[in-house]
Symmetry: C2
Subunit: 126 residues, 2 copies
């Protein structure tokens, strides 16, 4: 469900927060949906439970998740159903800027970059 890589330099709890935000934004996680348990995520990603709990707590502080004693964390109920495509494209911008910077420094033109992106995403769908 999530993709947590401890070798990117990006803190694990930050990776998780960002990915939850995206999936809520696209309604792959809808209001009321339960999130994977802290211990389960910690197990499958070989990470300390408190690292997961930290991400969940910060998302609750943001108002994105709701906490109920003794039960699994759920997506907050007072959220717009799905963000518009422009809003989701806005969330994609940092990844695009990062890609564009790398391409510029590698002196790869938009044609080469677009081809590489297309090939990767088609492989993904298959």
């Amino acid at each position: 469900m999530f993709n947590l890589n401890p070798n990117t330099g990006v803190p694990i709890y930050r990776q998780l927060m960002e990915q939850v935000r995206r999936m809520v934004s696209s309604s792959q996680l809808k209001p009321g949906d339960a999130l994977p348990s802290v211990r389960e995520l910690a197990m499958t990603h070989a990470v300390n439970p408190m690292t997961i709990s930290k991400a969940y707590s910060m998302l609750e502080a943001e108002g994105l998740l709701e906490r109920q004693r003794g039960k699994a964390m759920t997506v907050a109920g007072n959220l717009p159903l799905q963000e518009s495509k422009p809003d989701r494209l806005e969330r994609l911008q940092p990844a695009i800027e990062n890609l564009a910077m790398a391409a510029r420094q590698l002196e790869l033109g938009s044609d080469d970059v677009l081809k590489a992106v297309r090939e990767h995403m088609e492989k993904q769908d298959a």
Copy 2:
């Protein structure tokens, strides 16, 4: 010349290392070329000089840079002139994978992603 953002979670010295590697790979930095001085980079990016020095030292340990006492750091002289396009595309992969993951979680299709990338890169060239 470089783009160092302290808010991404990625350590500054790692950002710098990666960007130097890319520009050497594309021969925007050629063997013998001097790099910006530690103090200059530290000033313009509001960063501690030792943070820059750490990146330079690690790149020297990699064999990418050469150090000469009292003089500026230079690109090592024993490097292949420019990496092939396939090799540079290989270096682009992490940025592509990151973009594809974000798109998948945002439920944005390849058409929308490609359009957004194209628009961003065209704006860049202008």
